[in-house]
Symmetry: C2
Subunit: 131 residues, 2 copies
């Protein structure tokens, strides 16, 4: 049976508290001050459990680091290829699309992800100044 753990609660809350689609490391760094004995392994274990149970979703892997999202609604994402920033894009996918792909493939399509890539607003400005 699953038992209560204050650290686990804090890990989920950490992801829910931000729109930055954080990585395990980010969560660890954020909670370390409050839980000085927190281990990175605990963060990884709990994140994996939350994804398993559907309370979190893995959005993408950016720079080899898995990024999580507590917003379970179907929406698109933008990933900056320079700074690795992941942000929401308010374009919602339709079940129709899944159905279309399902028929095309003869597969059981459960969901889809739409990811935009490019250079974010901030990085654009900074490179303007630099270049």
């Amino acid at each position: 049976m699953k038992r209560y753990s204050r650290k686990r609660e804090a890990i989920l809350e950490a992801i829910r508290s931000t729109k930055s689609h954080p990585s395990a490391e980010w969560v660890y760094a954020k909670l370390k001050p409050e839980f000085p004995d927190l281990s990175l392994a605990t963060v990884y274990r709990n994140l994996a459990a939350f994804v398993e149970s559907g309370e979190l979703v893995s959005v993408a892997v950016v720079d080899s680091k898995e990024r999580y999202d507590a917003d379970l609604s179907s929406h698109a994402h933008f990933i900056c290829q320079q700074c690795g920033d992941v942000s929401d894009v308010d374009i919602h996918g339709s079940r129709e699309l899944d159905k279309l792909a399902s028929e095309y493939l003869g597969a059981k399509v459960e969901r889809h992800e739409l990811i935009f890539r490019g250079i974010c607003h901030n990085c654009c400005e900074n490179s303007d100044i630099a270049g």
Copy 2:
């Protein structure tokens, strides 16, 4: 200056010869018989160079392994969550979408990826037999 290399040519050709969106390991295994002294490092180095030069595209990371595609046209992909198979889906993205996201974000959107996830035809059948 870039020099000719038979191995490099073979690596690109290996990816071009299949629709399976292979990993570095797959390319290595495929070419090893013909090039017994081939090194995995060479495969990685050349794949990275091809992505850099735009001759190949990285489609996704499946089971921590990067998967490549020589088909540069904008099309969607389906990834089987059971066997890791990556297949093409004949749905083409529009530049309109990029423009839409670009305006939404104020970012320079270069492209987008549409990835479907679920259970492929083969795995569906096999689990029917098993379960």
